[in-house]
Symmetry: C2
Subunit: 249 residues, 2 copies
C-alpha cells in the first residue's frame, strides 16, 4: 500500500467541520467519498487535526493509504473532479510509510481575520469576523506576543483540556497586525488545544475592549482555568494556514 | 421629497438578479424592503440597469425619493443593518431632483474574471469563470480592443437588441489582461446591450480556442446578427464595477 499526503484548501462555511459525523456534510467525509470512488473500497483519511464547523483551511494536510497506483498528479485531478468546489486538493505527494498527517506534524500556523471597517465587502463576508466597534488595537497588538513560549495553555482550551495528557504547548510566534481595514492575528505553534486560537482571539478582544490589560495575560495563563480568559471568537474568521513536517516526509 | 443616490456592492450568487420579480429574492427587492422599513411606505428604487442572476457588483448605483429626513450616514447604517450581508450600501448621497440612476448615467465599467489555474481557490470560486484549458491568450488580448469605438453592437446583444431604438453604443476601452492566474477583461462604455459583456467574453473565448481570429471581430460586428458571435459567458465571473454621472449629480 502507498502512503499519500494531500494538502487541502477549503471554505468551511457549508460544512460541519473536518471530522466525519453521521448524516453531516464534513470535509473528511467528502474526501473519503472521493477516494472511495477512486480506490473502489473505503479509505480512511487522517487529518493533521480537526477543524470546527465554519473554519477554513489554506493548507490542511491529510494522509491515507491507497492500493491504486494512479500517479499523484492524476489523483489530484480525480479528487478535484469529484470534490465540491469548496474543497480543493492543492497537492498530492508520495510519503514514507511512517508518515502520519497528525502524529508527524511538528508545527501549525493559523490566521484569524477581523474586519474593522464600517462596511464589510460582500465578497469576504464569509472569511472575516466583523468588528466595526472601537477597540484599543495598540493594547491588543501589545498583548498578542505575550502568548509566545512554552506555556501551559489550559486557560485557553475549551473544556480545560479535559482528557489530555498535557496542556503545555509551545507558541513560536503570536502576532496581531493591521492590514488596511483588516486586523490579522497569526500564530505558529507546536500544537494547539481545542478552540485555542479562537480563545486567544476572544481574549485579545477583551484587551481591546479594556476589560483586560496586556499584563493580565500572564495571570490568565498561570491561573490554568478557562473561566479566566475571554470568550471563544466565532469560527468564520479562522484559517488553518499550514502544517509543518520534518523533511523529507 | 429628497432625491437620493446610493452606491451598492453585492454578491449576486444567491439572488435572481437586480430586478424585482414575484416570489424571487432580488437585489432591488431587498433594497426596497429595507427602504420601506425606514420610510414606512413602499419606495420605488431605480437602478442604473439590471444585472442578471449571479452577476456581482462592486459599485452599482440606484436612486429613489424619500420623505424621511434621516441623515445620509444614518440611512446607510439603517439599510446595511436590514440588508443581508451579501448586499452592502457603500455610500448614500443627496442629489438634485433631476438625477436618475439610469437616465443620468454617462458610462459604465464592467469586469469579467476568468481563472486560468488548474486549481481554483475555494474562496474565489463564486467570483470567477474557471477555464483551466489551453487558450491562445495572445490572440484574445489582441482581439479585445477591436470592440472599442462607436459601433453597432447588435451581434453582441442577446435577442439581437429587439425592442431597442438603437443598438449603437460607444466602447471607450476594452482590454484583456493576465493578472497571475486570472485573466481579467475590463470594458468601459457609454452603455451596454443585454448580455453584451458576457457575449463579448464568449466571443473572445472563441478566439482563444482558435475558432475565430481577431480579424473576425470586424466581420461579426458588421454582420449585425447574434448568430455570428460566440456564446454567452456564465454570469459567475461578471462584475459591474462602476457607473459614471456628470458632476455634480
Amino acid at each position: 500500500m502507498r502512503n499519500l499526503k494531500i494538502t487541502v484548501s477549503y471554505e468551511g462555511t457549508d460544512f460541519c467541520g473536518w471530522q466525519v459525523q453521521p448524516d453531516q456534510r464534513t470535509i473528511q467525509g467528502e474526501i473519503e467519498a472521493a477516494l472511495e470512488a477512486v480506490e473502489e473500497r473505503p479509505v480512511k483519511v487522517h487529518g493533521s487535526g480537526r477543524t470546527d464547523a465554519g473554519v477554513h483551511a489554506l493548507g490542511q494536510v491529510a494522509s491515507f493509504h491507497l492500493a491504486n497506483r494512479i500517479p499523484c498528479e492524476n489523483l489530484q485531478l480525480a479528487l478535484n473532479h469529484r470534490l465540491p468546489p469548496a474543497i480543493r486538493v492543492l497537492r498530492v505527494e508520495e510519503v514514507s510509510e511512517g508518515f502520519h498527517a497528525r502524529y508527524s506534524a511538528t508545527a501549525k500556523t493559523y490566521e484569524y481575520r477581523i474586519w474593522r471597517g464600517q462596511v464589510c465587502p460582500p465578497f469576504i463576508r464569509r472569511y472575516v469576523w466583523r468588528l466595526p466597534y472601537p477597540l484599543d488595537e495598540a493594547a491588543m497588538v501589545a498583548a498578542a506576543p505575550l502568548f509566545e513560549g512554552e506555556r501551559d495553555f489550559r486557560s485557553l482550551a475549551t473544556g480545560d483540556g479535559a482528557g489530555l495528557e498535557s496542556t503545555v504547548r509551545t507558541i513560536y510566534s503570536s502576532r496581531l497586525e493591521r492590514e488596511g481595514e483588516q486586523l490579522t492575528y497569526r500564530v505558529r505553534g507546536s500544537g494547539f488545544l481545542y478552540n485555542m486560537v479562537r480563545n486567544i482571539v476572544g481574549t485579545l478582544l477583551e484587551v481591546g475592549r479594556g476589560n483586560l490589560r496586556p499584563a493580565d495575560i500572564e495571570r490568565i495563563l498561570a491561573g490554568r482555568s478557562r473561566a479566566l480568559a475571554g470568550p471563544t471568537a466565532p469560527s468564520v474568521g479562522l484559517f488553518l494556514v499550514s502544517v509543518e513536517y520534518p523533511e523529507p516526509c
